[in-house]
């Protein structure tokens, strides 16, 4: 902690005539701890909490601008009930909360009677307050189908981490690294863990070498010592070829693989049998064999080193094995969970805020959807299969859906199919800040408070264990309610009100904090609790079936998949008619589908675009900064084009493809940019159930 920077907040607050409240920002999932400056009931400034190791005073553009959400005139203010039939553009009337709770409770009872409680599912963004819905819909009501949004996010990475290390979300100890290899990971340009950004930049200033493997010259590639412009969807081939070089040259960590890895010898034989060599990979990846071999040797002989992925190696039907192969590079070099490696972080001892007694718990009668759908290894719901359950009853009927802080109509591929799904639901509940595109398809829309108006206590996204607190800093907008009160209201109508006894958030906050070595009062003063950073957990045993790093995956074998990673081509390959592969990348000043109604952020970036290499642009008559039509076999969009050098020829990169082109949400957001998700047909990763956003081929022509 820096005394001067701690003091800075107090001094700045004096200048602004504001009170400072410790909180965290929930504009993006990195949730940086903050100091919020409040004057006359309005947020007038925000800065990072300088005492928190999570971001040391810094903020990002999205976080700085997030005060606008608490004052946005487009926010929902009252519960709304649909008045016209599904299939038409939603029309709604204002109802009371009591009517809303009764409507939902009646429908829930009807669905349980007719189809069983498993016919109700919940999908959300990762929000700790979603746990209240879990208590209601899982523990009491009896549905096993409580899901989040991961299949539209880092599902392939999550699956790879769980399979290999038994960890759901490793962090990156960039600060201590000497060699960082990032595969399709644009952490400096997409949503940012600010401490990770700073650590990476600091590490580089101390001589860490950064290699970025990505078809696109992203903000992160721009900072790299070496950009490896790989063909889309071929990361797995390059990583496997690198493994082969490291093993053949005996550059691997023999002691580490012997003691702590499952299946090293088998993996070596597997690479030989399949002929995974740099020469083989060169043909596939478009990267010279010598480069692949050199990078392999550099990686294996630089210590500490890190090979890491996020979303980019996924989004293809081969993304699961690409992810595993990229992490096996870490494993065979003994570069796991030591300083400078990926870090298998500890979680804070944060408890559940609601305790449902055993005898009140409902027994779950059916397998959760992902298992019944044939994706037992999926870390989250295969979203693209949900329409089958709703429309066709496959694998079993789903009739009710709660959508909490997520917008699947815009965020899932194949919009047509998602819209059709909503039209088949008996009960679709949207818990939202705005009349989103998904809200528009629902039966009932419940106005939630934003993170500035409600409390949340959750795990911090930092190397060490951390608890972070978000507290209400301003008054609620209209009649909006936080999740706890919404759940309590429905529970009371279901006859379960006794399990939600708390009058104020501090009451459940105390319960959640009971195992954390800090009182809730102290947490309110400090904004976070942080434990020590730990390393070297591998020798102590990992939560995998063998207790080791599973290069040979027991889980894969059990589920009938190849236990070793293979390379198979992605599903959609460009052809003469549709000659360009679609790829995606995000933008740092926008997060998903929620920031496009913020005028401050729209001033910085008010529409999205498609990038195309200059050689392809010349071929198809595309001029920089002009509008183009991007057409797939399924649909077409008109979008701004930027002609660039930093992109592999033969593909286009749609920046922030599903975040723009709102047709329902917000007076600022509506009609800006282009929504690209309906270009894609439904493609599901066969193991992880991830949405395959990049399994799409297009052609491009000037508009008009």
């Amino acid at each position: 902690m820096n005394e001067m920077s701690k003091d800075l907040g107090t001094k700045l607050a004096e200048i602004k005539g504001a009170e400072v409240i410790k909180s965290f920002c929930y504009t993006c999932p990195w949730q940086c701890p903050t100091e919020v400056f409040v004057r006359d009931g309005r947020i007038v400034y925000q800065k990072g909490n300088p005492e928190s190791p999570n971001n040391i005073g810094a903020r990002c553009a999205k976080g700085m601008a997030s005060w606008y959400v608490s004052q946005d005139p487009d926010r929902l203010t009252h519960p709304l009930l649909r008045t016209n039939p599904k299939g038409e553009r939603g029309e709604f009337k204002q109802i009371s909360w009591d009517e809303a709770f009764q409507f939902i409770a009646d429908k829930l009872k009807h669905i349980a009677d007719e189809w069983g409680p498993e016919a109700v599912a919940l999908t959300c963004h990762h929000d700790p307050n979603t746990v209240f819905y879990h208590h209601l819909l899982k523990d009491l009501y009896g549905s096993p189908n409580m899901y989040a949004h991961t299949s539209g996010c880092e599902q392939d990475r999550r699956s790879a981490c769980l399979t290999l290390f038994g960890h759901v979300f490793p962090m990156h100890d960039f600060a201590n690294s000497k060699y960082v290899m990032l595969w399709g990971m644009n952490n400096l340009g997409a949503n940012q863990g600010l401490w990770e950004s700073r650590d990476l930049i600091e590490a580089q200033s101390k001589g860490c070498r950064l290699v970025v493997v990505d078809p696109s010259f992203t903000e992160t590639a721009q900072k790299a010592d070496e950009w490896v412009p790989i063909r889309p969807g071929t990361d797995g081939a390059m990583a496997l070829a690198m493994c082969r070089v490291i093993i053949d040259d005996k550059l691997y960590d023999e002691e580490f693989v012997t003691k702590y890895c499952e299946g090293f010898n088998g993996f070596r034989d597997h690479l030989h049998e399949k002929g995974y060599t740099p020469a083989w990979a060169e043909e596939i990846c478009g990267i010279e064999a010598e480069t692949i071999a050199r990078l392999a040797r550099e990686f294996a002989t630089s210590k500490p080193a890190m090979s890491a992925i996020f979303k980019g190696s996924g989004y293809y039907t081969n993304g699961h094995d690409a992810g595993r192969a990229c992490y096996i590079l870490d494993a065979i070099c003994g570069e796991v969970d030591k300083p400078g490696n990926i870090n298998l972080k500890d979680w804070a001892p944060l408890g559940s805020p609601v305790e449902i007694p055993e005898d009140a718990m409902s027994t779950l009668k059916k397998d959760p959807l992902h298992v019944a759908m044939g994706y037992p290894l999926a870390p989250d719901l295969p979203n693209s299969k949900l329409p089958d359950a709703v429309i066709k009853g496959d694998p079993y009927p789903v009739k009710g859906l709660f959508v909490h802080s997520t917008n699947p109509v815009m965020s899932d591929p194949n919009k047509d199919r998602v819209l059709e799904m909503f039209r088949h639901l008996e009960l679709a509940v949207s818990c939202e800040l705005y009349m989103s595109e998904t809200s528009l398809e629902c039966d009932i829309v419940l106005p939630e408070t934003s993170f500035h108006e409600q409390a949340e206590i959750r795990q911090g996204m930092w190397l060490g264990p951390e608890v972070i607190l978000c507290q209400p800093v301003v008054d609620r907008v209209g009649e909006s309610k936080p999740p706890y009160e919404i759940v309590k209201g429905i529970a009371e109508k279901m006859g379960w009100g006794e399990h939600f006894p708390y009058e104020k958030w501090e009451d459940w906050g105390e319960v959640a904090m009971k195992d954390v070595p800090m009182s809730l009062d102290e947490l309110k003063q400090q904004g976070f609790w942080a434990g020590p950073i730990e390393y070297n957990r591998v020798p102590k045993g990992l939560p995998t079936p063998s207790g080791k790093i599973e290069i040979y995956s027991t889980d894969y074998e059990k589920a009938g998949f190849n236990p070793y990673p293979d390379f198979v081509e992605r599903s959609v390959i460009p052809d003469d008619e549709y000659p360009l592969q679609v790829t995606h990348s995000k933008l740092s000043m926008h997060c998903n589908i929620v920031t496009q109604n913020n005028p401050l952020l729209m001033e910085v970036c008010g529409e999205n675009w498609v990038e195309i290499n200059s050689a392809d642009a010349a071929k198809y008559g595309i001029v920089d900064d002009s509008y183009v039509v991007v057409e797939s076999p399924k649909d077409n969009i008109t979008i701004l084009a930027k002609v660039v050098e930093g992109l592999v020829p033969g593909c286009v990169s749609i920046r922030h493809g599903h975040g723009f082109g709102h047709w329902a949400m917000g007076s600022t957001a509506k009609g800006k940019g282009a929504h690209s998700n309906n270009l894609m047909d439904t493609h599901t990763n066969p193991v992880t159930g991830a949405n395959c956003y990049n399994e799409c081929k297009v052609r491009i022509r000037p508009a008009g």
């Binding site: 976080g63 950004s197 903000e219 721009q222 050689a615 050098e645």
Partner: protein
């Protein structure tokens, strides 16, 4: 003593947090952009390079905007060299914007007046000169620093800083960009 900014393009990731921090602290409406991050890309595939620069008023030693102003609304403060605009005097003619080589003066359509980076000296919200500016305080990677040009130069991080500080500041912008040899022609400072 002349004050200004030091900007390290190697650290800037073009996240635009500085722009929004500037706007929020100084309560600037949507429209005028006192600070803006721009990206310059050079080269041809696959040998591409890019550089980000966060640009605001340079608080020039011999400020062309000040000379161009017909109503003496623009002054350079004696003690710290910060170039400020008196909104009461400004007639919104835009001569300053034409004169400025850096596009720093921004015309506010709402107020019909010119505004620009004032080194966080907006009346009622003045940050003491020894504090970090809003853009500097918020930057996740520490790409922006403010202070006296002598202090910034003394950090010895760049030859460019030394060179600029050795001059008498007349005509020099009070911004040091940590340029690096590998970045194309003209970047070798």
């Amino acid at each position: 003593m002349q004050h200004g900014f030091y900007f390290d393009h190697k650290r800037c990731v073009k996240c635009h947090a500085c722009e929004i921090a500037c706007k929020t602290w100084n309560e600037v409406d949507v429209g005028p952009r006192w600070r803006e991050v721009v990206k310059i890309e050079t080269g041809t595939f696959p040998n591409v390079k890019a550089m980000n620069v966060s640009m605001a008023c340079m608080h020039c030693g011999d400020a062309p905007c000040k000379s161009a102003c017909p109503v003496t609304a623009i002054t350079k403060r004696a003690d710290d060299g910060i170039v400020v605009v008196d909104q009461n005097k400004c007639i919104g003619c835009g001569f300053c914007a034409w004169a400025c080589p850096f596009n720093a003066p921004q015309l506010s359509a709402a107020a019909g007046k010119m505004e620009k980076c004032n080194f966080c000296q907006t009346p009622g919200k003045e940050r003491p000169i020894d504090m970090p500016r809003a853009c500097e305080e918020i930057c996740p990677t520490g790409a922006i620093q403010s202070g006296s040009m002598a202090k910034l130069a003394n950090q010895g991080r760049e030859k460019a800083a030394q060179r600029l500080s050795g001059a008498d500041m007349r005509g020099f912008p009070s911004l040091m960009v940590g340029a690096h040899q590998e970045f194309g022609p003209g970047g070798d400072d």
